[in-house]
Symmetry: C2
Subunit: 252 residues, 2 copies
């Protein structure tokens, strides 16, 4: 039995396990975990269109149709706690999108993952930009660590999908670099009002992977082996690689 | 005539135009601008081996052989002001290293610029990492803007060197992406205790540029034109591009 009284309390109170009875009518009463998820979802929607420093707990309360004391109780650490909780939720969601489909050529599989990634970027928009651009007042060593976790998950997932157990420094550098290119491209895409079609950007990134792997293969037998295996899986002609070869013959 | 008395004063005083007479013997008296440059140089040396948050004005005073009040007068805004001044100095120095040598093939010119870049990275080490990694307590919208200025200078300089007056979005994305790869590679290099030889990393980055340009040329006539012109300048065989072509034929 919970001995704590379920009365409404101010923002300075410690977070309670049970939600206080709303003082005003019109607020829906939700179970604790569900309410927390709802508040985070609302916060993520606000972060998508406003800078993190412009979103306060009051805005979340208003948008969620919740009382201010209730929101302050869930996030007694203030907007920084709210921001970190929202970031953690978004990071988990993004990581779950790295799952590679089981069928298709390597290019098709990579395309599918990139489509999921750009859908995430489009949905989170301003929040995604503010986070990766740095310099925000809500950025801390903790938020940077969450972002780094996502990058590491992307690296692990990619290497696993390439069938690599122990990646040497050059293959690791290749995959890390390509992930940085994906990030940068998605930021540019948002900056320019999504002017480039997503499908083109996705195909460009798939071609970048092939090209960057080829450049790394010149310096590293492990990458050469991985690239050869990928190209073999692309089908008899590996048509995109063939086009890359042709363009490298230009100017001769 | 300067009406202000040239007496030693505490940290709360506004910065003076003239340096106060040192209270203890053993301090050298320097002209204002020279002293400021010396303090920033000392700070940059400290930032190279310690996290920005671990370097205070007292450390700078000690390392510079200057009195604490003197250092506090030059940087009345505290360590944040010192950090930003040091960052601005480092950013200017880095930008000056983007100058491309007038002779050599495009690969040789790019190699020379990259050698200068890695020399800068090696010299600033921890400070460079902390800055680009984000999440430091001394990171602000202002410090992010300084870093972005450097990136923009690198972009402009590269496009100018490629003979491009008006870069379209795809060529711009290519150059930006390659700059991001250079940054990421330099961070990885520091992370791994400089295990990879700089010359190899530099050659890898030159090959990345060619490969990434080839992948972009598939999507963009402007980049195709730029790449063809570069390859023509590489000499009759463009040997590095030829090796890229060969590796893309693997697995067939």
């Amino acid at each position: 039995m919970d001995a704590r009284p379920a009365t409404a309390s101010g923002p300075a109170d410690p977070p309670a396990d049970a939600e206080p009875r709303p003082r005003r009518t019109g607020y829906r009463r939700l179970p604790v975990q569900q309410r927390r998820e709802q508040l985070i979802a609302v916060a993520l929607e606000l972060f998508a269109t406003r800078a993190p420093e412009e979103v306060g707990l009051d805005d979340v309360a208003e948008a969620a149709g919740a009382s201010r004391p209730l929101v302050y109780r869930y996030f007694a650490g203030g907007k920084q706690q709210l921001y970190e909780a929202a970031l953690r939720t978004a990071a988990d969601e993004l990581t779950s999108r790295f799952a590679v489909p089981l069928t298709g050529t390597p290019s098709e599989q990579l395309s599918a993952v990139l489509d999921g990634y750009f859908a995430f970027v489009a949905e989170h928009d301003a929040g995604y930009s503010a986070l990766l651009r740095g310099g925000s007042v809500v950025e801390t060593a903790r938020t940077s660590a969450i972002v780094d976790d996502v990058r590491r998950a992307a690296l692990r997932r990619t290497l696993r999908h390439l069938g690599v157990r122990e990646a040497g420094p050059r293959l690791t550098l290749l995959v890390r670099s390509w992930i940085a290119v994906v990030e940068g491209a998605s930021l540019s895409w948002l900056d320019e009002g999504r002017a480039l079609p997503v499908a083109e950007l996705r195909d460009w990134l798939v071609d970048q992977f092939t090209a960057m792997a080829a450049a790394t293969a010149l310096h590293d037998p492990q990458t050469a082996q991985v690239l050869a295996a990928l190209l073999a899986l692309e089908g008899p002609d590996a048509p995109r690689a063939e086009r890359l070869r042709a363009v490298l013959a230009a100017g001769r």
